[in-house]
């Protein structure tokens, strides 16, 4: 694996200067244990600034743990992680979103999005609420919103900080199919406009292929597949190449056949 890791590392640091909007990420031999149990076993991963990477894998394989490690929410037992080539313990320009919106129920939408901001950034808050289409709901309690609307508020809350790395841990996992499709379009357009690096954990292979430049498969704490999705955007979900990729990933997830990614990801 990572036969070209030195190349990508060089690329990551040079691109960081060119593309200041997104964080370049390098993980080297990351090991995370809970007690005796090794949840992440030597993860190596390079992500280009501004890239959209999806992480798929069975439940319990360590996807959330990996995301929390990158967010700085978990200590690691060994390994190095570099954000834009630097090793820092706190990442102010990184934001993370979860399956639950984690909105404060006792604050109205506007106050939730303004969390941790000074008052003078009010206009920015309004702007970003406009971007997710919820400016007119700014004086509502979160309990009055639907699940999809709550996730949009959580997205706005993350975006108002102009993150350079956005981590998404199954943010659409609890939403209905139609709302998910709407959210895909919203996340894709926000990503294109803002230029942040996006790392999306999902159990939905279809979602991963619809959104990501690259799909990474994690099995039992290890990266076992790293697939470039070279389909033009916006992606037609009924496309034959789309379906082929989807089947290929699903098969590996289900443990059916070994695949040669380069042959198929044309």
């Amino acid at each position: 694996m990572n036969h070209n890791s030195r190349e990508t590392e060089a690329l990551a640091s040079s691109a960081a200067i060119v593309n200041a909007k997104g964080t370049g990420l390098s993980l080297r031999s990351i090991v995370k244990r809970y007690g005796e149990r090794e949840v992440l076993r030597s993860i190596d991963l390079d992500i280009q600034p501004g890239e959209f990477v999806a992480i798929v894998g069975r439940s319990g394989c360590g996807k959330s743990t990996l995301l929390r490690v990158i967010a700085g929410l978990e200590e690691i037992q060994s390994g190095v992680q570099l954000h834009d080539g630097r090793q820092e313990s706190t990442h102010d320009d990184t934001r993370i979103m979860f399956q639950e919106s984690r909105l404060l129920p006792w604050k109205k939408v506007l106050a939730n999005v303004s969390l941790g901001l000074t008052r003078d950034r009010y206009l920015e808050v309004l702007d970003v609420l406009n971007e997710v289409g919820l400016a007119d709901r700014r004086f509502d309690w979160p309990s009055r919103l639907s699940g999809g609307q709550r996730q949009r508020v959580a997205l706005a809350r993350a975006l108002v900080h102009r993150p350079r790395l956005l981590l998404l841990d199954e943010p659409l996992g609890a939403l209905d199919a139609l709302t998910r499709i709407e959210m895909h379009a919203l996340i894709e357009s926000l990503w294109r406009e803002h230029g942040f690096t996006a790392l999306l954990v999902t159990h939905d292979v279809h979602e991963a292929i619809a959104l990501a430049d690259r799909v990474i498969l994690i099995e039992d704490g290890q990266i076992t597949q790293d697939l470039h999705v070279r389909l033009p955007r916006p992606r037609a979900r009924s496309d034959a190449a789309f379906a082929a990729l989807e089947e290929l990933l699903l098969n590996q997830l289900l443990g059916k056949t070994l695949i040669k990614p380069d042959a198929l990801a044309a």
């Binding site: 934001r95 984690r102 006792w106 969390l115 309990s143 900080h161």
Partner: protein, 259 residues
């Protein structure tokens, strides 16, 4: 939805039919002499007694004394309970230092302390204040401690990752998260506050509603005794309404308190 007005009036008044009938029956039984006024005076007689007491100002004086006792006891005991609950809920050190001792004291029913309290304070104001304070302390302490402890950890993590810490985190995440539980304690202790005060005033007092009723008992003025009982009921109801009002205000974000 579209109900006729008479029907609506009928439905609204239905729950009141039984109490009104009972009152009428009671009044009748008392007037015909079937019910001795020593046992239970007529409702009108009780109303008249209340009116006379109110006019002379005696009623208000007693109510004021009792209310002052109740509220100062609540302020002292409730305030201490809130402070200590916040302390032990928020700081591990404080919990280790204080919680076990407090949990041990909690097992003593406040009313069991009465003989001791009379030995300490006599029938002084201090005795009543002490009893009420102790009584309201524990419900508020326990619910505050528990409320702080059970604030959603994912929200605290979220707050931290958005740059909140120290007082900011406390104000925006931890305190609001504990409010529902704290208010349960407040509501419970407001009810308990009157119970304790009634017992304390009945046993020993030289003013207040309890004194008024015990005094009336000596002169066989059953009507005034009943006025006192009804006053306690009214004040208890008022305390409960206040607690509900606080809940409706502080928890207005909560789906359970929106209509």
């Amino acid at each position: 939805m579209s109900q006729s007005l008479p029907r609506l009036v009928w439905q609204r008044s239905l729950p009141w039919v039984a109490p009104v009938l009972l009152l009428l029956l009671w009044q009748l039984a008392a007037q015909t002499g079937w019910l001795s006024s020593r046992v239970l005076p007529a409702p009108l007689a009780i109303g008249k007694a209340a009116w006379t007491l109110a006019l002379s100002g005696e009623l208000w004086q007693h109510v004021a004394v009792s209310a002052r006792r109740a509220l100062s006891g609540f302020a002292i005991g409730g305030g201490a309970g809130l402070l200590l609950g916040l302390l032990t809920g928020s700081f591990r050190r404080a919990e280790i230092l204080l919680d076990t001792s407090l949990q041990m004291v909690r097992n003593i029913p406040p009313l069991a302390l009465i003989p001791l309290v009379i030995l300490w304070f006599g029938i002084d104001e201090g005795a009543k204040l002490f009893l009420v304070s102790i009584g309201v302390f524990f419900p508020i302490y326990l619910n505050t401690y528990h409320g702080i402890r059970s604030v959603d950890a994912t929200l605290i993590e979220m707050g931290r990752s958005y740059g909140l810490s120290g007082w900011g985190l406390y104000r925006d995440v931890i305190l609001p998260g504990a409010t529902a539980s704290i208010l349960v304690g407040v509501r419970f202790s407001l009810g308990f506050m009157w119970v304790i005060l009634i017992v304390a005033e009945t046993i020993s007092a030289s003013s207040g509603i309890g004194y008024m009723t015990m005094n009336a008992r000596e002169f066989l003025q059953t009507d005034i005794v009943l006025v006192g009982i009804l006053l306690y009921a009214l004040l208890g109801k008022f305390a409960d309404l206040t607690a509900r009002g606080l809940e409706r205000f502080w928890l207005r974000w909560h789906p359970g308190y929106q209509h």
